[in-house]
């Protein structure tokens, strides 16, 4: 029995004294594709940010590849895809330059990029279908293409675990398909995935397990829930992903 890739034990996270996650435990094994689902404000993004050490745990523990987060140093094994391109960027940067950042965890700060780095960046750009846009400034790409750039950046580091925060939110259909294809390639290579999603879309067939976060706790951990009510309607138009006060209708029934 190998160590789980991610272990969260009794994790508690709070912002300004307000609890966001209370007593959350989660384990993700090698090769799994785990989707964290839940309404806005349920704490699902906070959960993955806590896993990555971006928000401190109030109590409980997180371990990555069997190593407690505090002592974890093998960051090259992890590829992180944030929800949006960072606020940085007063200066233009090409898609290729952004993707090339993904090699730093593997290469280190001091070593200049070499042939292997260039090859990996090319492959990552191609895997998300952006090879022809490599030289374009990211600011001129569409939202979906920017999201794909961030996925390519994570893939360029040849990680074993991908952690994605809402990779499909507000992304056009072509980009969702390109993303699902890239993810399939990553999984074929033996990768593990933890992703936060509001809705699964074309990713649904790839997900092996769903974890539903509701009001800071885990409400469900197992099979991917079938869409209920009006969500099940094939013509249902998902126009609400960023509504501020959406009721948790899908999961509370």
């Amino acid at each position: 029995m190998t160590e789980p890739v991610i272990t969260v034990a009794h994790g508690v996270v709070g912002y300004d004294g307000r609890p966001v996650l209370r007593d959350v435990s989660l384990a993700v094994d090698t090769g799994e594709v785990v989707a964290i689902l839940g309404a806005n404000g349920s704490g699902k993004s906070t959960l993955i940010r806590a896993v990555l050490g971006l928000v401190p745990l109030h109590s409980g523990s997180v371990a990555l590849f069997g190593t407690p987060l505090r002592r974890f140093r093998q960051w090259k094994r992890i590829g992180y895809v944030p929800q949006r391109l960072g606020a940085g960027g007063g200066v233009p940067a090409t898609a290729r330059e952004v993707v090339a950042s993904g090699r730093l965890a593997r290469r280190g700060v001091l070593r200049p990029p070499g042939r292997a780095d260039r090859v990996a960046v090319d492959a990552a750009l191609a895997s998300v279908g952006l090879a022809d846009r490599a030289g374009d400034p990211v600011a001129t790409l569409s939202g979906g293409q920017q999201q794909r750039t961030l996925i390519a950046r994570a893939l360029a580091g040849e990680p074993e675990l991908l952690v994605l925060d809402e990779p499909t939110a507000g992304v056009d259909a072509a980009s969702q398909e390109a993303f699902a294809g890239a993810l399939r390639g990553f999984l074929d290579g033996g990768g593990t995935v933890l992703l936060v999603a509001h809705e699964l879309g074309p990713l649904r067939p790839l997900i092996s397990r769903a974890v539903v976060v509701h009001q800071g706790g885990i409400a469900h951990d197992g099979a991917v829930p079938e869409p209920a009510g009006h969500h099940a309607d094939p013509d249902h138009d998902h126009v609400h992903p960023h509504a501020p006060d959406e009721p948790a209708g899908l999961w509370s029934s």
Binding site: W75, Y80, G89, A105, G144, Q146
Partner: protein, 288 residues
Amino acid sequence: MELFQYPYMQRALIGALVIGLAAPALGIYLVQRRLALIGDGVGHVALTGVGAGLLLNRSPVLVAVVVATLGAVAIELVRARGRTSGDLALALLFYGGIAGGVMLVGLSDATSANLNAYLFGSLTTISPQDLTTIVVLGAAILVTMLALRPALFAVCHDEEYARVAGLPVRALNLLLAVGTAVTVTIAMRAVGVLLISALMVVPVATAQQVTRGFRATMTAAMALGLFAAGSGVWVAANADTAPGASVVLLAIASFLAVAVVAAAWRALRRRRAEAGTPAPEPHEVVLR
């Protein structure tokens, strides 16, 4: 041209060229971070160092390097802590810095001409020792900013991603803060405390109007900085104007020239595009 036969003019030119090259190489990271005016703040703090140096009869530039470094590190620590009170803390540091400088210079035997040399630059009074300091520190800045470009780019572009990539984010941020302090202090001799940010920021702003990538912007900004510094000193020598102000005005003139040319070129291309292919679809997602 014969003015450049004099050693003091040669020193002025070399000093200006080194600073013209080094300042945008560092400034581009500050612009990318949207901290374009931080150089100004550090410059204010450096002035206290100048005052202390004059008062203690030590090299004002070296004391200013130390004081500005302390100030820049303090600013960086405030920035990293969060933003709510950061603004006010920065303001205190800035005005404390300049008031402290003016007061200490006043306490020393220095004249107001000495103070002016640091407020507005005094390229032509650079001593051989000053030039050595400028060349050594300028080269160090240049090498560091070029060699660490991928890592510094990653940190300035997306700090959270850089943390998850395991980069030494805090060390790189502090390096940038120290680099800012060093650049400000050596640029102080050329363009003065009040004009420092111009050399770090204006060439970058000029370059990014026409460039597509970070590396291209950095190269173009360094070339523009070199051009503004060289031509500024030349104009100053021939027209007998203040060198620091001439350098900065030339940098701003290039910004305006490039802005006009770029706008004209875009308009031309748009007209051509309208006649040909249809416009691309609008973005699906509007970035905040």
